[in-house]
Symmetry: C2
């Protein structure tokens, strides 16, 4: 019914996370009806990204510059490296403007179930970067899931094992607690008991 | 943080129906991480559609052929024209394989609220097509909303007014009733009472 070009576009759109077959059809029709204002600009944006964006060889962030603008920025603190699972976590942290150190993208988490071992993550480069004398702290900003915490413990062990008498590292993780704006009522027991144990003077 | 190219791609994706800012970020990252298997194929699919797909001058369907493959198919019945609001409704009807006549896409519905009048719809072409001697029936497959039904009544009146002694038209609408697989419990009163009034011998 819709020609093969339209069918193909729908299939490509349906593969995107968050779009099912139905919303892919709607998106395709939206684009076809707005050729000049939506379809061609999206095609151009994709071509630009395809041509110019590459992973940063240092931290794994995506950027047009190599090393990326975060690795190259001289105002950022070389003493702290924040380790994240993936680039979207890096983006989320950057949106907070609460961190001004460097990043390292692991590219995944250890998972026995999915057969992901240490050799599948960008670990050697992290250990190498952590060995630089200037680095004082590694923040493991990994998800508060079993896989995230397993990965954090594994990396902490590897970092400790690589320490030398002249160079010791602080290894930290994100605080657990009540989300800002969150009702206690809706929180799970684990978070609430962590928040209680880590209580702070007001 | 993410470069301007990536930000721009996220904005373009966030405009698609069904994608918010958050899912647009996820979709952008998905594409960037799969340059050869997802990003470039999507860009190519968009370029193909932009270059080749046009609205059919006859019925308003989108296709690479002009007139479209449905208008050109000699096996379809010229005697029945099914009027739909938009191309996705045409696609939905074609998926059922229950209709083998011709289509006519209105491109909208009458709406006093949105200031959409008869002159904003593809009506003249429909009246012209309906006037051909071969056409015997017009099916108004419009939504069961106030605007859909207002539009259906308006078109039915215009079609009746255009009838000549030599050429009369049957004008019909879709049946209302219990959706196939639907529980009575979950149906609204309007649908249920329509289904009861239009009951059929078993």
């Amino acid at each position: 019914m819709a020609g093969p070009e339209i069918e193909h576009l729908m299939q490509m759109l349906a593969r995107l996370p968050g779009l099912g077959p139905r919303s892919a059809r709607r998106a395709a029709l939206y684009l076809i009806k707005r050729r000049e204002s939506a379809l061609e600009p999206l095609a151009a944006a994709l071509a630009q990204v395809a041509e110019r964006v590459r992973p940063c060889p240092q931290c794994g962030n995506f950027d047009t510059a190599s090393p990326c603008s975060l690795c190259a920025d001289p105002r950022r603190d070389d003493g702290v490296i924040c380790v994240v699972e993936d680039v979207d976590d890096l983006w989320a942290l950057e949106r907070t403007r609460a961190f001004s150190g460097r990043y390292h993208v692991l590219g995944g988490l250890l998972s026995a179930l999915d057969g992901i071992g240490p050799e599948d993550l960008h670990l050697p480069r992290l250990l190498e970067r952590a060995g630089q004398p200037v680095v004082q702290e590694i923040i493991l900003a990994l998800p508060a899931t079993i896989e995230g915490q397993t990965t954090a413990h594994y990396i902490a062990d590897r970092l400790k094992a690589a320490e030398t008498p002249d160079h010791s590292l602080r290894v930290s993780g994100l605080a657990h607690g009540v989300p800002v704006g969150g009702e206690l009522d809706y929180l799970d027991d684990g978070t609430l008991s962590q928040a209680l144990r880590a209580r702070r003077p007001v």
